[in-house]
Symmetry: none
Subunit: 226 residues, 2 copies
DNA sequence: GAATTCTTGTCGGCGCGATGTCGAGACCAC
DNA sequence: GTGGTCTCGACATCGCGCCGACAAGAATTC
C-alpha cells in the first residue's frame, strides 16, 4: 500500500481531504490525513512522510507554521501548500518557509498528484529505477526499456520487462512468486502464482543462451544468478 | 556533495548564511561559507567556486570590492549579490562590476537557488533546449521552430512541435504519456492521456516516410528510435 | 530403486485492455 | 465570423496476460 511512500495531507475540509486521498491512493501512494494543524505537525514527526500537503488555513496551527517547525526540526520533507487566496501566495514565496510548491484552490487533483510526483523526482535525484543493470551478457536499461544479450536487443512485453528488471534489481536475491506478483503485477492483482511461472518461461525463451541466468529455486521462487 | 561544483557564500549574518548553505546543499551543491570580505576574497582565489554569492555590506571588504578584484584577476566566475537596500542596486548595475545577478533581502532561498542554477546554465553555453536535434533524416531547430525531413520543411502546430522536440531531446528514452503530458502540456493541463495518442498520430502523419522514428512502446509510452 | 506426491514447465485459446483512427464540438486568435 | 487547433468520445483492431490442463521433473517414502 505504501510502495511509493506515505504522503501526509493536512486539510480540515473533509470533501477536499477525501478527494486528495483518493487520487494519491490511486497512484500508489500511502496517504495519512489529519484535519487540524496540531495533529498534522505531530503526524509529520511520527509517520515520516515522503511529502506533505498542507492547507494554509487550518484550525489549531496554520500550515505555514507546521512547515516552519518541520524545518526547525531539520526535516526537509518536500511540502506543497494548498491556498485559497492569491494573496497568501506572497506569504509562502516571500518568507523563508522552505515551501517547495503551492497549489491554489480550486485545484485539479490530477495537477496536485503531478506536482507531488515532480517534487519527489526532484528530491530523489537520479531514480534508482532508472539504473542500468548488467549481469553477465545481459543488460537492462529501464529508461530505454531495452534489454540486450551480448549487444543484441530483445523484444519483451511490459510484464516480461518488469519481471526481468525486478530480478536484476537484486541479483542473487531469491524472490517468491508472491513477492514478484506484488512488485511486478501490483498489490491489486488477482493473478495466481502460476502466472509468474508462465512469464518466467517466456522470458527464458527470449533470453536464448542467457536463459540460465534466471534460476528456479525449488519450493521458493526465482532468482537472477550472479 | 560537490557533484555540481562548489558555491562560495560570503555573508556575515550567520542565520542567512546558514539558510543559503542549507538550500544549496540540498540541491547538490558544495558550499563554502566565509563571514567577512577579506576571507571571502581569499576563498574565491583558493577554492575555485563555480559561482559566488556575495553580500554587499561586509566587514573587512565589501562584496562589490571582492567582485572587482576577482575580475581584475581575470576571474569571471558568475557572481550574485545580496543587497538589503534598493539604492545599493544602482551601484551594482551602474558600475562595471561584472555582476551577473542580484537578490534583495529579504529573499526566498528557493529563488536564490533558482538564480544560481540559471546562471550556471547560462554560463554553460547554449541552453539544452536551444540545441538543434538531428535523428536520421529528421532535424528539429528549437530556435527557429523548424522541422525538416530530408531538407523539406514541415508545418507543425505548437503542440506537435513541442511533443516531437521532447521526444528528440532524448532519443531512445521511453516517455510515458504522463511524462509527456507534464513536460509538453504542463502541470496544469487537464487533458487525458489519450490526447497524447492523437497528437502522436498527427505528428506521424506529417512525418511521412520518417513516421517510424516515433515508436509506440506498448504499455509504456513513446520513444524516438535511434 | 520404484512408486507416490508435490512442484514446475509448457501449450493454446479466450477475454480484455491498450492503441490507432476518425470526426464533432469547444476554444482561441485574428 | 473564420480558420486553425486542441480535446474528447466512439469504434475497430490488435497484442498481451491469464487461466486451465497436461507433461515433465524433483523430492519423499517405502
Amino acid at each position: 500500500m505504501t510502495e511509493k511512500g506515505l504522503v501526509l495531507v493536512v486539510e480540515d475540509e473533509r470533501p477536499i481531504a477525501d478527494l486528495v486521498r483518493l487520487y494519491l491512493a490511486r497512484e500508489g501512494f500511502g496517504v495519512h490525513v489529519e484535519h487540524d494543524g496540531t495533529a498534522g505537525l505531530a503526524a509529520a514527526r511520527r509517520v515520516r512522510p515522503v511529502a506533505a500537503i498542507l492547507d494554509i488555513a487550518l484550525p489549531g496551527l496554520e500550515g505555514t507554521e507546521i512547515c516552519r517547525r518541520m524545518r526547525a526540526d531539520g526535516d526537509w520533507t518536500p511540502v506543497i501548500f494548498l491556498t485559497a487566496r492569491d494573496d497568501e501566495v506572497d506569504r509562502i514565496l516571500g518568507l523563508e518557509l522552505g515551501a517547495d510548491d503551492y497549489v491554489t484552490k480550486p485545484f485539479s487533483p490530477r495537477e496536485l498528484v503531478a506536482r507531488v510526483k515532480a517534487l519527489l523526482r526532484r528530491a530523489a535525484g537520479p531514480d534508482q529505477g532508472e539504473r542500468v543493470r548488467t549481469l553477465g551478457p545481459l543488460t537492462l536499461d529501464p529508461g530505454r526499456r531495452l534489454v540486450t544479450v551480448e549487444g543484441a536487443p530483445l523484444s519483451l512485453t511490459p510484464t516480461e520487462f518488469d519481471l526481468l528488471g525486478h530480478l536484476l534489481g537484486r541479483p542473487g536475491r531469491v524472490f517468491t512468486r508472491e513477492e514478484l506478483l506484488a512488485s511486478v503485477w501490483g498489490y491489486a492483482s488477482h493473478a495466481g502464482t502460476r502466472t509468474v511461472d508462465v512469464h518466467v518461461a517466456q522470458v527464458r525463451a527470449k533470453l536464448g543462451g542467457a536463459a540460465g541466468l534466471i534460476r528456479t529455486v525449488r519450493g521458493v521462487g526465482y532468482t537472477a544468478d550472479v
